[in-house]
Symmetry: C2
Subunit: 233 residues, 2 copies
């Protein structure tokens, strides 16, 4: 008799703490600019400071938190120019992603991609009034992430994850109304179809158009929030 599955490993406290803090930041519960105080977090999460410190070091390296002038850590704040810069990075990486997806994605993967768009559409129609911003942004990024994954390039996926995290922060900072949900699903479907044709040039043009439109929308929203920033830019 052989046992086919090893016993499940319980996630370490440090790992659980990391996930909790990361989700809290990306959902906006810990807001940009908030100071992260080890002793308070340790009390709230009912762990010692050790897993807090270790999780914060990882979040620091990810760029989601940064040291302030007094040595304390704060959630980063994403400015208009950050938004532009992040979109530039994103466009570069996602163009590479769709090009590689045209070359390497299996038919099975493309089917999965189509399925997940359909699921997103159904989820959005069923729950349009109850999905919060975090959840809807997650649907958006999950689509893009699946394309990256379909390239078989884990480094590309990891780099894009970092960009998506910061854009999540940005979008949480800006979104007081729902993104144009059905439009986005339609654009996703269009991108997926161009990938399925295996025509890299068309797919690249489609993703670029999609992201440039998104860039304009987000940057405009950010500038509307911060009139003084727009005059500085």
């Amino acid at each position: 008799m052989t046992l086919s599955n090893p016993l499940p490993r319980r996630a370490s406290l440090h790992e659980q703490t990391y996930q909790t803090l990361r989700t809290s930041i990306l959902s906006g519960e810990l807001a940009p600019g908030d100071r992260l105080v080890e002793t308070q977090l340790a009390t709230q999460l009912e762990v010692s400071r050790t897993p807090i410190r270790e999780a914060l070091r990882q979040l620091q390296r990810e760029g989601l938190v940064a040291v302030d002038t007094s040595g304390g850590l704060r959630v980063i704040s994403v400015s208009v120019s950050d938004a532009v810069h992040l979109y530039d990075c994103r466009i570069a990486l996602e163009q590479a992603a769709v090009r590689e997806a045209c070359l390497h994605a299996s038919d099975r993967t493309l089917d999965d991609l189509q399925q997940s768009i359909a699921q997103s559409e159904r989820a959005v129609q069923r729950a349009a009034s109850t999905l919060n911003t975090f959840e809807m942004l997650n649907l958006d990024y999950q689509f893009h992430r699946k394309i990256a994954e379909s390239t078989g390039n884990p480094w590309l996926t990891d780099l894009l994850d970092q960009v998506f995290d910061k854009m999540m922060l940005l979008r949480v900072q800006t979104t007081r109304h729902n993104p144009r949900v059905l439009d986005i699903c339609r654009e996703h479907r269009q991108i997926c179809e161009t990938i399925a044709t295996r025509d890299a040039a068309t797919a690249i043009a489609a993703i670029e158009s999609h992201l440039n439109a998104s860039k304009v929308r987000v940057v405009t929203a950010l500038e509307a929030l911060q009139p003084s920033s727009s005059t500085d830019v």
Copy 2:
């Protein structure tokens, strides 16, 4: 009487430890596959385990070390397919970098870039027999990094830094002979000149050509080291 400079802040042990470990990994002193044992590192660096753990968490998030099946940390090992994938990411990001550099780099910055190429050439000619691999790769990556910096996009620079680190690891793994040093400086000069013309399409073509040549060289070298990998790919 006012004092114009604050007192210098000494780097924390955690920060010093991080830099030491990172340099040891990138120089090959801690080799790919080596296990990183907290207690031993703490003894060697004469600090407690705390700054070791914190530094290792950051290196883990950077992807330079990874957890093995038993929960211990090891320096990652970069395979042929990793090499290909990293070059794909690099090409995408560096094409964006040269395009933005054509748009945004100040004339002052371009002069600085030319100067640093000249310095590299002088350093290489003066010390061709004594510069080690790490130092020479550093000169190479410094050039590329300066282009990224000239875009004014800190996120792009950070993403590229991550890619460069892993390629440093890869190159340390493969380099038993000097890279073609003078050829690289000539290619760098050529890239810099195309950026100075502010012609993005030409600059993009130049960086792509440069990186594709490098990709072929490095992948070939890796495959030569690992004959079994080439049959698997």
